[in-house]
Amino acid sequence: MNTTTSHKVSSTLHKVPPKKGSLWLRKGNKIAPYFFISPFFIIFGVFGLFPLLFSLYLSFHYWEPAAGLSAMEWVGLENYVFALQDEWFQKSIYNTVVIALKSGIPQHVVAIPLAFFIHTSFTRWRNTVIGVYFVPYITSTVAISLVFTTLFSRDFGMVNQVLTSLGNFTVADIHVLSWIFPVNNVDWARPEYTKDMISFVVFWRYVGWNTVLYLSALQTIPKDLYEAAIIDGANRYQQFWYVTLPLLKPMAFFAVTLTIIGNLQLFEEPFIITGGTGGIDQAGKTAAMHMYLTAFVESDFGTASAISWILFMMIAGLTWMNHKLLGGSNEE
């Protein structure tokens, strides 16, 4: 309010000699920045911070939603203990970690050489190639996961068509590729394959994003380093191993951190691919999904809140560990 009044005053003083006006303006100048940044703090306070504190509070309570907000009952750490001992929660953590690794590791193993290759060998088609690999990142997860569900279906899915035709590829009556590719249709909905299917969709979605991160890091490596390496007789692989990779380490640390944070909260892909259920034997149910289902299907908001905080602490812990392992001393 203060700001608006001072603005009004300063505007009435608009035509008076500048010296007097500038006093008011200086005052406006002091208050204005707080006024300008206030929307963030109001919105975050009401819809960001307050919900977090409330969820922390909730995680120490037992609450029957039908009985109204006043019916909360303090239970201490019981929700946390219950969640941690719940075998379905443990399974969802296991699923999350497996999917995180199966989708996360290939992302970086592919993105680093891909970025190196785009950086060194593409000029005219460069932006097109980057665009093609990046476009999955901006598309609707729900829409594309539904399309993948069709592509991965057992009897008529394109994925199985391609895999089995490779598996049945014959040279002199021998299936030469059958040791890599399946000969018969794979039932991706089976528990042992659900996580692979989800991991592939996640990989598909984020590999281009990581490639762009590595590309931007590659651009900061000075050319003379490569020239020096070439003078020393290094070939392309040696340049990649001894010049590029060490210098990519800071970005790799950062990109891997982002992948860990993102993968541990996977929700949309597994939710859509398993039709909101977690799949047969809950093989595709991630921890974030478990939290959602605990709250909105089982109406156990206290336990669900405890789960969300456990998951948050896991993410924070792993990020910190990653920092210790990969971070070194001088990067942020």
Partner: protein, 277 residues
């Protein structure tokens, strides 16, 4: 030696191209399936070229989702209003952080940036409860207001304003007796339209794709956004795959269009936080 490199290069080009095909294939099949009947999609081998069943698929989609037009309109409305509010609030805050000196400035800025570390799922349950307490269930406000000023947008705007606008220009306007807000909309806004473009695109796409938000606050089918409406098709027993595909295509097509016309800007903007931070 150079022969070896050449051979390697050819192999690498082939691998990159194959990868590109895998990246684009889901989009291609989405459009192909959108133009085939259910029995066509469910045949072996599945169709690999466009059919002529688009209109029927769309009619099936409308049968399953009678409010589909409303869903599209709502998605568009939420995305546009969220975008406009973000442009306004984030540029104001970014301007303050870039051009003013004030007490606690750095502390407040670091605080805002730190909120980016909070994972969205943490607020999911309490947000749903709060929205139902204040009567915002099935109300577009519940999606727009909480998302109206993002930390990422403030960061982007601060970076851009600090690099694009000389402090002297703002000082000069102030000397001329310009009020602070007038400086903002007469001097700052005209100079930051490129950043508006980037932040606008990113916010629009994020809102258009948002699934977790509407999932917990929208339970009336009429108030579904497109991702929720598409997801509702899953629970319908025999899933109408052609209709699913055309619905998915409608959800994705505007994004592909935006990406084609502004891919460089979108990629830079979306990775800016990661690259510069």
């Amino acid at each position: 030696m150079s022969n070896l490199i050449k051979k390697d290069k050819v192999i690498a080009y082939v691998v990159v191209s194959l990868g590109a095909v895998i990246m684009l294939a889901p989009f291609y099949f989405m459009f192909v399936f959108a133009s085939h009947s259910n029995s066509g999609i469910l045949s072996v081998p599945p169709p690999i070229f466009f059919g002529d069943y688009i209109v029927e698929n769309f009619n099936t989609l409308i049968d399953f989702l009678p409010y589909f037009w409303h869903n599209i309109g709502l998605s568009l409305f939420v995305a546009v209003v969220t975008t406009i509010l973000n442009l306004l609030f984030c540029s104001l805050a970014g301007y303050a952080f870039a051009m003013f000196d004030f007490k606690f400035k750095n502390f407040l800025f670091v605080g805002i940036m730190a909120t980016m570390l909070l994972p969205p799922f943490l607020g999911m349950i309490p947000t749903a409860m709060i929205m139902s307490q204040i009567g915002w269930m099935n109300d577009p406000k519940a999606l727009i207001i909480p998302a109206a000023c993002g930390a990422m947008g403030i960061f982007m705007m601060r970076q851009f304003i600090a690099s694009a606008i000389p402090k002297e220009l703002v000082e000069a306007a102030r000397m001329d007796g310009c009020r602070e807000f007038k400086i903002y909309y007469r001097v700052v806004i005209p100079l930051i339209t490129p950043a508006f473009g980037t932040l606008g695109l990113i916010t629009f796409i994020g809102s258009w794709n948002n699934f977790m938000g509407p999932l917990v606050v929208m339970n009336d089918m009429k108030m579904f956004t497109i991702p929720l409406a598409l997801r509702a098709l899953q629970g319908t027993g025999q899933i109408p795959w052609g209709a699913v595909a055309i619905g998915a295509a409608i959800a994705v097509l505007p994004l592909l269009f935006l990406f084609v016309i502004a891919s460089r800007r979108l990629i830079d903007g979306l990775t800016a936080g990661a690259v510069k931070g």
